[in-house]
Symmetry: C2
């Protein structure tokens, strides 16, 4: 921030009628692109930490993710009257009433959350109003891989009103603009007031269309409220896919009208369930926050509890489990049972409706065990009767048989052929992948390491991918082991820096366009809703910036922004992990060893 | 549980007027000392999981820590009317009114917390009342290293009342009995009712007198509420020392009347402080929960923010910090400044009063850096003027000078010579330890590894110790690094099994009596109150059982109890980590690979 900016900051504060009464001994000064803490000597000229951060350095230091495009902020802050915040829809038919009302309310709450508990804001009308003019071209856009999420905005101050004009192709782009605006509003602890950047222009859009988070609600249960809270935080960092891995072999919390026994027997407890109505409500909650709810029904493996009365599974809770699956209890669907596909069709139908007819579906497909199927005399007989053997390739054929039949039922339910996501597995290995999975139809979600040559195989063959490499994006790694002692299988813990560094460059730039994006995953063997927030936040934010902006900078340059952002998360009720002593937030760049 | 017990369980349930309406498909059966889940076929004879666990196997499976002494539970459960729970004080002058009222209320709340949200208990009076007769010999005992915390109790059912007679030497022993009682009360999800063990006898006392947890409230701040919540959970597992590492070089949250500048300048924010009144309230909160509040004022290192106007520090925020200290910001007291000791005396006085005149004090004393002191020309001159050199032994002399003078002031404040705890450091190494630290006076708190030969050195020399070896008891290990990338210095994460295994046997049985006990520590560079619960619970419970019962069994045999106990923590509002899929709780012993 150069000297003339500083003068402007003070000028506008004076114009808008500041009163003083600092609750701090400290002011900040921009030196060599770093905000340094100095003793507060003159309250009139003193600069608060967030104001300094906005103007000091290349990227406005309160934004997360950083802008991927043009950004220009002038050294001007206006005192904001938090009650005077309004949306103004331009050229809109207002069919999206709930959408705009929710986001207006959300912005107001985010603004008030910036005020520390020990501060009571003055109740006077000296200060600026905030008027956000929203100009959206296409009000009907759906949220999906093709959605235009970009926006342009321009803010300026005019006779006591800060006017921000937002232009976007879709409502989702405009919503992202509002998140950015909320991050350009700060609490100044020197003057004990809210301030908004008085003049700026931003053009912004994401690098990757698929920016997701996977939650496993089967190994342990998560309340509906905790899922909503997660979606709220995702919206803050412009993540747009909540991938719901709802069922697995440990529990079946999904309450189906067609098959109530699945959850009656398979849920952990009567209140540890999701009804169709719960899902619809979460869908709506997510939609107005720009987040797509992506359903996964994982099959044929990862099935067990709940299916006891169906007679369509193999090796359920077989012992010793390590012989038949990767964690207890074992269980796989038995592809040879014809009535299995009727049940699947019912499940798909209810899920498809509850998830509001999404244009994409996740069919799971990971960790299928041949030894599980091979432990069933019935399956063996069926295969032999068909003239198959009992070799690996025969079991792959059995798996292909399952996948074809399951997909046929899903297609029948949906009535059209939407893109299908599946996990990397033996089925996605060469040569099976091309035998069984049409690259026009299937998107492969990578969960092996980022350096796995199989990823390159898939890229070469032209498959579209979503990256969830466990060594960069599995947020459950690093804790104690649970089937033995020591630490869990994918240890160590992945710090936010590693998530941030987990980029796409090592695959080669020519393949970048084959990635729709990435997802971080929380497999929940060792987490439930009580510790959800800290397990994923603020690390998920690191992924958000990777996917929105795909920065080439080192994490060090993002660190001061990250520390500010973590405080924003906790101010908004997200119990995010603390990354460093608060001292490091207050002393920019003085903690890391360079 | 043998067959005749089962019959008794059913009999008493019938007598007390059970009504049915199971909300579960499952019942449990004790087979080979393990509760196995079976299909619920007959609601009249079905056994719920916690009831099965109480009677199946050697240790009642709902107790944590397990009893260290005689335990006899008969196969009898009585339905409990939760509103009818009363204490009856025998031979007491009732001067401890607040103590008993608090614990009675606490027990009632713990009982109600067992009822899942989806259950509405029937409002009728069929069931047993609970009458707890408390017979305490010495009502005046203080909490400390000599306190008798043992108890004996005997419970039986008599015409609709379950009477429990508790005998204890002190109120603290009696309070432990109440915690045990609360764990003998369970929610039966088959009959949707609370039940209490109808007949039992327990004799119990701790192996180690000092069973603690250290919280660092300087690197990051923790709200008073979060500290109280922690003490609540500590009381549940009979931990009895809350060691408060309140200040450090990063922040000084302690508000002193004598030196208000220390917190005005040194606290992170105006609301991130502890007043004397806060401490007194926390002391009282802890006292009635059987927890001693142990004050630490760490010096001469670990001092920095807040002291800016005192002119008694060296190397404050010196750069590059790695040259002068172990983490930013550096800072040490300057032992050569005479007025330093006046300030310390003021601090000690206010702390001693706020902590209600404890019979023990922690003076810190870790990680003193010679290069810090050596960077001060003033210190060098002072040493040379005394005819000392500037070698290691001279700086040790300087340190000894500080320690002697600081202790003199502390003794003056207290008016008697109470035991002093200090961290292992270069000062506790041979030969310095015997030069500077009187073994009759000083207790050494070990923070090096459990295998460090220095521990044996101290034992051989007859020092009394408290164990906090970082490789078994530092709960902050295993997360991302914060001064560089990768993982933090004491990684990996220490699972509860490792805490449980962290015993005293490898020091040799002849030295066991030199250990007062142990403390787990949470250094808070990467935690604040938002993620406190999950960081320490349920792992702290593993330490609690180690110190109360010092079991020789493998952690595997404790695991089913631990899983039940973790649920109890979350039921009581402690956001403890989930250790395993809930499936493992419901399927005893089926998860670990043996």
């Amino acid at each position: 921030m150069n000297g003339s900016y500083l003068v402007v900051v003070i000028a506008i504060l004076a114009v808008l009628g500041c009163t003083f009464g600092a609750s701090t001994h400290w002011s900040y000064e921009c030196r060599k692109n770093r905000c340094e803490r100095i003793e507060l000597l003159n309250e009139k000229t003193a600069i608060s930490l967030p104001v300094c951060r906005i103007f000091c350095g290349e990227h406005p230091g309160t934004l997360w993710p950083r802008v991927n495009g043009k950004v220009k902020v002038e050294g001007k802050m206006a005192r904001l009257i938090p009650t005077e915040v309004q949306f103004n829809l331009i050229n809109q038919t207002k069919r999206n009433d709930l959408f705009w009302r929710t986001n207006e309310q959300r912005l107001r709450e985010q603004i008030l959350a910036k005020v520390p508990n020990y501060v009571k804001l003055k109740n006077d009308d000296s200060g600026a109003h905030l008027m956000i003019m929203l100009d959206v071209k296409n009000e009907d856009a759906k949220l999906g891989l093709d959605t235009d999420e970009g926006y342009h905005m321009h803010g300026y101050e005019n006779t006591g009103v800060v006017i921000i004009k937002v232009k976007a192709e879709t409502i989702f782009g405009a919503r992202h603009a509002i998140e950015t605006i909320s991050q350009l509003i700060v609490f100044d602890d020197i003057r004990r007031e809210l301030q908004v950047v008085g003049e700026f222009e931003i053009e912004d859009k994401p690098v990757f269309p698929h920016r997701g988070f996977l939650l496993d609600t089967s190994r342990n249960y998560f309340t509906v409220d905790s899922i909503k809270r997660t979606i709220d935080a995702m919206a803050m960092v412009k993540l747009n896919v909540f991938h719901w891995h709802m069922t697995d072999s440990q529990s079946f919390p999904l309450v189906l009208k067609s098959h109530p026994d699945l959850s009656e027997i398979g849920a952990y407890a009567p209140d540890k369930v999701y009804t169709i109505n719960d899902i619809i409500k979460i869908y709506e909650y997510a939609y107005v926050r720009g987040v797509l709810l992506l359903p996964e029904f994982d099959a044929p493996a990862h099935v067990g509890e709940g299916w006891q009365q169906k007679n369509v599974t193999a090796c359920f809770n077989a012992q010793p489990w390590a012989k038949y699956c990767v964690e207890p209890p074992c269980g796989q669907l038995d592809p040879t049972k014809d009535n299995l596909y009727d049940i699947l069709e019912d499940i798909y139908r209810e899920m498809y409706d509850a998830f509001r007819k999404p244009d994409i579906f996740h069919m799971g497909g990971d960790e299928v065990s041949h030894s599980c199927w091979n432990s069933s005399k019935e399956i063996q007989d069926w295969m032999l009767q068909k003239g198959w053997g009992l070799k690996e390739s025969d079991f792959m054929k059995l798996w292909g048989h399952f996948q074809d039949n399951a997909l046929e039922r899903l297609d029948k339910v949906i009535g059209k052929k939407v893109p299908i996501i599946m996990w990397t597995s033996h089925l996605t290995d060469v040569p099976y992948v091309e035998q069984y999975l049409d690259k026009q139809r299937y998107i492969i979600q990578i969960w092996t390491t980022g350096a796995d040559p199989k990823v390159t195989d898939l890229l070469k063959k032209g498959y579209k991918l979503i990256l969830s490499n466990y060594d960069g994006l599995y947020l459950d790694c690093g804790f104690g082991a649970w089937v033995t002692e020591g630490n869990n299988w994918c240890s160590p813990y992945i710090g936010w820096e590693k998530v941030y560094k987990n980029n796409f460059t090592h695959f080669g730039s020519k393949y970048k366009s084959q990635f729709y994006g990435a997802e971080a995953a929380l497999w929940s063997e060792q987490t439930d809703h009580h510790t959800l927030d800290g397990r994923i936040w603020p690390r998920l934010s690191a992924l958000a910036e990777r996917l929105w902006s795909d920065p080439s900078d080192h994490w060090r340059s993002a660190e001061p922004r990250m520390l500010i952002h973590r405080e924003r998360l906790v101010d908004n009720g997200i119990a995010a992990e603390s990354l460093q002593p608060q001292w490091c937030l207050q002393h920019e760049g003085e903690c890391p060893i360079n």
